[in-house]
């Protein structure tokens, strides 16, 4: 299988990966390669600021199209700062929950607010 390395610094044009728009752009780039059955490596080297807004749009959104086994086989990351790895893991966990919970939306709201 072919492999494509995407440099995040290059995608966002700097050290800060903070905007939804940049995240969306990365998302579109990733899916373009995944659709061609290319393995994607996301290289976060030199990214110093990384927030969930960017990660939700770029990574979390992938779970709307692909399942976990597919992404495990086709996607990997490298170069993340140690403190950002936890953020990435939590983004992934949250995305999985989000798309699972979308089906249980009404039940969750009922549980949260009752008859309020």
């Amino acid at each position: 299988m072919e492999r494509k390395i995407i440099n995040i610094f290059d995608v966002v044009g700097g050290k800060a990966a903070v905007s939804t728009e940049d995240g969306e752009r990365l998302f579109e780039t990733i899916i373009a390669f995944l659709e061609k059955d290319v393995k994607v490596v996301l290289d976060f080297v030199n990214i110093e600021t990384l927030i969930t807004t960017f990660l939700n749009a770029a990574i979390g959104q992938l779970y709307s199209k692909y399942d976990s086994p597919f992404l495990r086989e086709h996607l990997s990351v490298r170069g993340l700062q140690p403190e950002d790895k936890e953020r990435m893991v939590r983004t992934i966990e949250r995305a999985k929950e989000y798309f699972k919970d979308k089906d249980n939306l009404e039940k969750d709201i009922r549980e949260a607010f009752g008859d309020e």
Binding site: T49, G79, T91, Y98
Partner: protein, 289 residues
């Protein structure tokens, strides 16, 4: 002409938010009027709360505002922050305790990020903070900025900060005049909920009012985790609700006056020596999709 008396103290607390919400309530129905904001009784105004005052004045932009009877010390602080009412007139901040007031377009997060780097994180008055603490502060503020953009459906975000050297605290306030948390939660849930209950729900783990394909519901969780460890504080005032959390204890109350936007105050403990390193080092290959 409408004259609004400001109270004797505007601090970064529920009373401060409520007092400014009261100003919002009074100016909201006005159009093309002269409005005097009378500071005669005001002896204290936390500089960071200028973010909320600025947002309120901007929301009623058709009116002609006049700030009167502002004490000399107050005026100095306002000018040190470059508060826009004075048309860019500013004073040097010799004690270096204020963080510049700024009105930012929500579409310009890159420029806001640079403002944080230049005006806040390298603030000469701040003590030496670890790189990781600075990074966590910056990321927390950027998450709130983006929240305003995503959920507030607004055009501008207003921000200002004050550093308290003796307390070792940095207060930074971010305000938008847009959809309130109350409106977003009610629209999303289809339930009638109170303003304070709406905030409680919005800041809890795994909740979001987004409905599209971009997940949400993590930003506030990470900020709360960090601020609890940092021994800082987060306060939110939106619609008729007020909520805060400090050291793992949260509390919500009704706000006495309705505020048609969202104000978030983040208080950081800048003397924090916590390293924030993870207990176990994670490899890139440990990240499983």
């Amino acid at each position: 002409m409408l004259t609004i008396q400001l109270p004797y103290r505007i601090g970064s607390d529920q009373q401060g938010f409520a007092s400014l919400a009261n100003v919002y309530q009074q100016v909201k129905p006005c159009q093309f009027e002269k409005i005097q904001l009378d500071f005669q009784n005001t002896t204290w105004f936390d500089a960071n709360m200028l973010a909320m005052l600025g947002a309120i004045m901007e929301s009623a932009w058709t009116n002609d505002f006049d700030i009167v009877n502002l004490g000399l010390e107050q005026e100095k602080i306002f000018k040190k922050t470059h508060y826009s009412y004075f048309g860019g007139e500013s004073l040097p901040d010799s004690y270096q305790t204020t963080v510049e007031y700024r009105k930012s377009k929500v579409s310009e997060i890159g420029s806001f990020e640079k403002y944080l780097e230049k005006k806040l994180l390298v603030h000469p008055g701040l003590p030496n903070m670890s790189a990781l603490l600075r990074k966590k502060i910056k990321e927390s503020i950027l998450e709130i900025f983006n929240n305003a953009k995503m959920h507030g459906n607004c055009e501008f975000v207003f921000s200002c900060g004050q550093y308290y050297p003796r307390k070792g605290r940095l207060d930074f306030t971010i305000v938008d005049i847009g959809n309130t948390i109350h409106k977003n939660v009610q629209d999303y849930s289809g339930r009638k909920v109170s303003g304070k209950r709406a905030i409680e729900w919005a800041v809890s783990e795994r909740t979001t009012t987004r409905k599209g394909n971009i997940p949400g519901g993590l930003g506030f969780t990470l900020i709360r985790d960090f601020l609890c460890k940092n021994k800082g504080k987060i306060q939110i005032a939106s619609a008729d609700g007020y909520w805060y959390e400090k050291e793992y204890t949260s509390h919500s109350e009704d706000l006495s006056d309705f505020f048609g936007g969202t104000a978030v105050n983040l208080e950081f403990n800048v003397n924090d020596q916590c390293s924030y390193c993870l207990t176990s080092e994670m490899e890139d290959t440990d990240i499983l999709f």
